[in-house]
């Protein structure tokens, strides 16, 4: 009895005054997060559009640049993100069940995996820096036939993966906030909305990478 009373009080203290009940509040939060994710789809979609256009215009230059995308590293990063989505979903499940320790454990695991991804990304970028493949005044490209087109394609590579990485960094920040909140007993099986919402965000960032990986690393690789 005391437990359910406590959760009742806990859930009501999380009820903001302009909502009628927690169900309405949860529905609003969920719809709000999904509307935000729709904006993110359009945001990344613009870059996918630009990328599609240039790939279609310069297929040979594209095939030439795809040699510099390390498939193994990309695949490892893909696996890392998939693992992080798995741990994230287990974190949400732990929150649902009111298991504080498990929640924190899985959130930390997700955060670590996210940082691994970013670390690997850093090494990739570093390699590009060494190869002078970063667009700008110091750009160099071995095959002079495709110098300009390669620079455009690398520009899009950095724009797309860079924007994705920024979203990952933001996600890492959000995860950290969740960990702190969880440690301070803010969540219970009656209310864990931020965990679920940030989970949705995290999965979305994973999905963006699920498309970036084949487009940037896999296609044209055999030529």
């Amino acid at each position: 009895m005391a437990h359910s009373e406590a959760t009742l009080v806990a859930s009501n203290s999380n009820l903001r005054h302009h909502f009628d009940d927690t169900a309405q509040q949860f529905e609003s939060s969920t719809l709000g997060m999904w509307v935000f994710l729709v904006t993110e789809i359009m945001f990344f979609g613009g870059m996918f559009g630009a990328y599609t256009v240039y790939r279609q215009l310069y297929p040979d230059a594209f095939a030439s640049t795809s040699r510099f995308m390390n498939v193994t590293i990309g695949a490892i990063n893909t696996a890392v993100l998939i693992c992080s989505s798995f741990t994230m979903v287990l974190a949400v499940r732990s929150a649902q069940l009111g298991k504080k320790k498990a929640l924190i454990l899985f959130l930390v695991a997700t955060l670590i995996l996210g940082c691994v991804f970013l670390g690997v990304k850093y090494t990739e970028y570093h390699e590009k820096w060494i190869d002078h493949h970063i667009p700008g005044p110091y750009f160099q490209y071995a095959d002079s036939r495709y110098f300009h087109q390669a620079q455009i394609l690398f520009f899009l590579y950095f724009a797309m993966t860079g924007m994705h990485a920024i979203h990952m960094i933001v996600g890492a920040g959000l995860l950290t906030t969740l960990i702190v909140m969880a440690a301070r007993d803010r969540f219970s099986s009656a209310w864990y909305t931020p965990v679920e919402m940030i989970g949705l965000y995290w999965h979305f960032v994973d999905i963006v990478w699920i498309f970036l990986f084949p487009l940037l690393y896999l296609i044209g690789h055999t030529k």
């Binding site: 005054h17 609003s28 904006t39 256009v53 724009a159």
Partner: protein, 545 residues
């Protein structure tokens, strides 16, 4: 008309304005009504900033060899466009009237995300300050459309700063739209079904869909532009294989639907005003509601009509031309329905109704000329001339701004608890109407005769019409200044308004006090009647002054 006021007299009652004083209570507010006022003041300020640039332009165009050189003039029209489009028109009605009224009209205590609402205002302010920085640092001269490769490669002006300002304020727009969508879906009062929603809410819902789906694309476009200016990779540079038309595609994918962000709320306001001052329910409620959604959806399919002469393929152009014709249909449906509402209504001509009439006529003209532009063969002749400028000013200024003024007047009593002086207001409305037409009708003629847009100097044969246009602009400016004066005065010193001075239908009038308390309603409203149930109300409106 005698009405028993169910609420205590305005002065003594606690409302959202007098519940708390001090700058902190305003800058940290989460009350959607206060945030609406924060927006109102900011947007008005930017309207006059944008207007100042217009004054510069029209003064320059008094003589064929104008007073400004080309570079300066380029900056004038660019800043006029950037400020007016991104910092006035896009936020205008949604951020002010929408923010204030949507929760009231659906019977909610606030928007779904009040803190995000405040954040959206702060993002607007940050974006606008950055844009002002660009202006102060010498401006930008690319045109508000930022076309590449001039903007990405050749321009020497503050492109990155301006683009950054627009980019940040775009998030303000996205968050407002997100808030409205969620609020309208989840926070309607009991009995407020979709079929009973005021058309103002339908219009804002459709607008919010566009804001949420379109704005991210211009965000990424501006990011690519800013990165290109920094790294010069050549993504839009034809010398190295980049495609400037790609920029135009990405830019207009948002910017065309953006014009529907601007006009749909205006149409939403007109629906409310027309019903109230005809004492009639809207003719064809469902058609008007669905038309709002149709405009929002179809509006995303027509952006290529800005690229007819840019090198877009003939087949894509044909498709876009056809779709542009289609998008005119729901707008026309609305005009027919408003007209049918007014027909055989009990019409009175208070200021809001004058603005509504102005909207209907001028928007129709602007919309029809849009069809000329959608016709490829005609567009080849008039594109990039003053014909285009006249077209969009008819819909934006003759349409949107008049609707905005009409809405401000209509809901002024609700927002402030006071009445404005009807005589001055009607006079100002007429001044606006006359000034507007004198400014922009000659521009149709100029454009058709071939005067190009964005030119600082022009051939002497165009001078008469240009002088006429500038004369009209000065009258229009007076028309805008007058409300600034009397509305400000009325807020402080105007007569107290009764609970429902227009005897209008709608939860905001009937169930929320004038002005409303912070949480809008004393008791949870329950809706039992359809929208605009004017047949149940007495016929006339008495203002008493």
């Amino acid at each position: 008309m005698s009405t028993t006021l169910p609420f205590a007299q305005t002065e003594t009652r606690v409302n959202y304005l007098n519940v708390e004083y001090g700058w902190k209570s305003w800058l940290f507010t989460t009350d959607h009504k206060r945030i609406a006022l924060l927006y109102l003041f900011s947007i008005t300020a930017f309207f006059f900033v944008g207007g100042a640039f217009a004054v510069g332009m029209r003064l320059n165009l008094l003589t064929p060899d104008g007073m400004f050189d080309h570079d300066t003039y380029n900056k004038l029209f660019t800043m006029h466009g950037v400020v007016m489009v991104f910092f006035f028109l896009v936020p205008s009605i949604p951020a002010t009237l929408g923010n204030f009224l949507v929760p009231l009209m659906i019977g909610a205590r606030d928007l779904a995300f009040p803190r995000i609402n405040l954040l959206s205002w702060y993002l607007y302010i940050i974006g606008s300050i950055i844009a002002l920085t660009a202006i102060v640092e010498g401006g930008v001269d690319t045109g508000w459309t930022f076309y590449a490769p001039f903007s990405s490669t050749y321009s020497n002006s503050n492109v990155i700063v301006s683009a950054l300002g627009v980019f940040i304020s775009g998030f303000s727009s996205i968050l407002t739209g997100l808030n409205f969508i969620v609020t309208i879906h989840t926070m309607r009062a009991p009995g407020m079904t979709w079929n009973r929603l005021p058309l103002f809410v339908w219009g804002h819902y459709a607008t919010s869909l566009i804001q949420v789906l379109g704005t991210p694309v211009i965000a990424i476009t501006l990011v690519l532009l800013m990165l290109e200016r920094l790294f010069h990779a050549g993504i839009f540079d034809p010398r190295v294989g980049g495609d400037p038309v790609l920029f135009q595609h990405l830019f207009w994918f948002y910017s065309h639907p953006a014009v529907y962000i601007m006009i749909l709320p205006g149409m939403a306001v007109v629906s409310e005003i027309v019903c109230c001052f005809s004492r009639k329910g809207i003719f064809g409620y469902t058609f008007v509601a669905i038309s709002s959604i149709a405009i929002a959806v179809l509006g995303f399919l027509v952006w290529g009509h800005h690229l007819f002469v840019a090198g877009q393929s003939l087949y894509a152009s044909m498709m876009f031309s056809f779709l542009s014709f289609l998008v005119a249909i729901p707008s026309a449906i609305k005009v027919f329905n408003w007209t049918a509402t007014i027909y055989r209504g009990s019409v009175t001509y208070e200021t809001p109704m004058l603005y509504a009439f102005g909207f209907i006529g001028l928007f129709t003209m602007g919309g029809l000329t849009g069809l000329f532009l959608a016709t490829m063969a005609v567009d080849v002749h008039v594109t990039d001339t003053y014909f285009v400028i006249a077209h969009f000013h008819y819909v934006m200024v003759g349409g949107m701004v008049m609707a905005y003024l009409g809405g401000i007047h209509f809901w002024f009593p609700k927002i402030t608890g006071r009445m404005y002086p009807e005589g001055w207001a009607r006079f100002a409305a007429l001044v606006v109407f006359v000034g507007f037409n004198l400014t922009f009708f000659p521009q149709f003629l100029l454009g058709y005769q071939g005067m190009p847009r964005r030119y600082a100097h022009y051939p002497p044969e165009f001078q008469v019409l240009n002088v006429m246009s500038t004369a009209g602009a000065s009258i229009l400016a007076l028309g805008y200044l007058l409300p600034m004066i009397y509305l400000t005065w009325s807020w402080r010193k105007g007569p107290l308004a009764s609970q429902n001075p227009w005897n209008a239908k709608g939860l905001e009038w009937e169930q929320a006090a004038t002005p409303p308390p912070t949480f809008n309603f004393d008791h949870q409203p329950v809706v039992t009647e359809p929208a605009y149930n004017y047949s149940g109300v007495e016929r006339e409106v008495h203002l008493g002054s």
